[in-house]
């Protein structure tokens, strides 16, 4: 009985992971965009009111982290997308 239970649990875990994979990708993209918009003036994109940006900055730790990670992974973005669609 125990192995079957374990198998089902593992199966469920896997299912949970993969079911949120797309949403997580989308979430990361949105967080990245959010940070990019606020810091756009660094790369020449018109940015929102300076006051607003400065007020939001202190709360943007997560988004800035995501944005930085995104920049690091950028050279391999196709691999990430391919992985998501199970292309080997």
């Amino acid at each position: 009985m125990e192995p079957i239970k374990q198998f089902l649990k593992g199966f469920l875990e896997y299912f949970k992971q993969s079911s949120t994979e797309y949403i997580e990708f989308e979430l990361r993209e949105l967080e990245n965009i959010f940070a990019l918009i606020l810091m756009g003036s660094f790369i020449g994109i018109p940015s929102p009111p300076t006051t607003l940006v400065l007020r939001l900055m202190p709360h943007m730790i997560r988004e800035i982290k995501v944005m930085q990670q995104r920049a690091v992974d950028l050279d391999d973005i196709f691999a990430e997308i391919a992985g998501m669609f199970d292309i080997d």
Partner: protein, 329 residues
């Protein structure tokens, strides 16, 4: 006295705008003297970095409203100082929050921020907002503004800020929605930065970014509501009977209409009334421009102020000119 100068619904805000050197400060000063004489508790504030409101009143002025005569208070805002103070305050809060995250070299960032485009406009808007927040202390607040270009940008800011804030709120909602969806399946989520664990907020009321966005929206909405309400705000444009001045007034009129800010009166200042043979051509042009102003601005009050032999300075002079503006003489 004109309806758009009286406080109807709470306090009245009057912006005096116009090209550099046409007589905005003199007009604001005269207007406020006349209003104070009528018994309205009046505050006249100079937002112009090139301060000369004090020179007109022949008094030294600073950030704090100073009593000039009964019912009349005047102040000159030190924008430079305000920007500096504002940035210092921000730097402190940012440093505290980012202790454990060295993303940007903050000191360098703040050094250049002082000269960043737009910071002056935001500081001016912030100053206007702060005065409006305590507006109930006064019956009428007269703003003597910097030359048209900067003023129009400042008056446009609330609308532009609202558009930006709404877009960011929309995007933030999407992020929070996705976070909630993931949370439902995987449970509460955390993430670690430099050894510190942070819980990912997924609900609007617990997300600091969303709270900040909403707070900012409310603040801007307050200013926007005051500026676009014809019962609370009036704009007076000052011009000289010259072509350039006329063009600028037309542009200001168009822009203000776009932002739904009322435009109530034009003061044509420094009109030469005497027949002087040497400047006959100039006088003809003046007449032409005055009649064009009357033709172009149909729903706007037009006041003509002649060129005086001496500069109108000091309370007596100001009262005389002020009477002409509010229409009592």
């Amino acid at each position: 006295m004109k309806e758009f100068l009286k406080p109807v619904d709470g306090f009245r805000v009057i912006f005096v705008i116009g090209k550099g050197g046409v007589g905005k400060t003199t007009t604001s000063a005269s207007l406020s003297v006349a209003l104070a004489r009528k018994g309205y508790k009046t505050l006249v504030v100079s937002l112009d970095p090139a301060h000369n409101l004090g020179d007109v009143f022949m008094e030294k002025l600073n950030n704090k409203p100073r009593e000039i005569m009964e019912n009349l208070y005047a102040s000159e805002l030190d924008m430079e100082g305000m920007i500096k103070e504002y940035l210092e305050h921000l730097e402190k809060t940012m440093k505290m929050m980012y202790r454990y995250l060295t993303v940007i070299n903050l000191e360098k960032y703040f050094e250049v921020l002082r000269y960043s485009p737009g910071i002056e406009e935001y500081a001016t808007l912030e100053a206007i907002r702060e005065i409006l927040l305590e507006g109930d202390e006064w019956d009428v607040i007269v703003f003597d503004t910097p030359p048209t270009g900067l003023t129009l940008r400042v008056l446009a800011l609330p609308k532009i800020s609202l558009i930006w804030t709404d877009k960011l709120i929309e995007l933030r909602r999407k992020i929070l929605e996705r976070r909630r969806a993931i949370e439902k399946i995987q449970g509460e989520r955390r993430f670690v930065v430099d050894g510190k664990e942070i819980r990912l907020a997924s609900r609007e009321e617990e997300d600091a970014v969303m709270r900040e966005l909403n707070a900012y929206r409310e603040e801007i909405m307050f200013v926007y509501n005051v500026l676009t309400n014809p019962k609370r705000t009036a704009v007076i444009a000052v011009m000289n009977p010259e072509m350039l001045s006329l063009y600028e007034t037309k542009r200001a009129y168009e822009s203000l209409r776009e932002f739904k800010i009322p435009f109530n009166m034009i003061v044509i200042n420094k009109i030469v009334r005497m027949e002087i043979p040497e400047i006959k051509g100039k006088i003809r042009t003046q007449e032409k421009i005055i009649s064009e102003v009357k033709k172009t601005f149909k729903n706007v009050e037009i006041i003509e102020i002649p060129m005086f032999q001496e500069e109108p300075r000091g309370i007596e002079w100001l009262e005389k000119v002020g009477g002409m503006i509010i229409g009592d003489h």
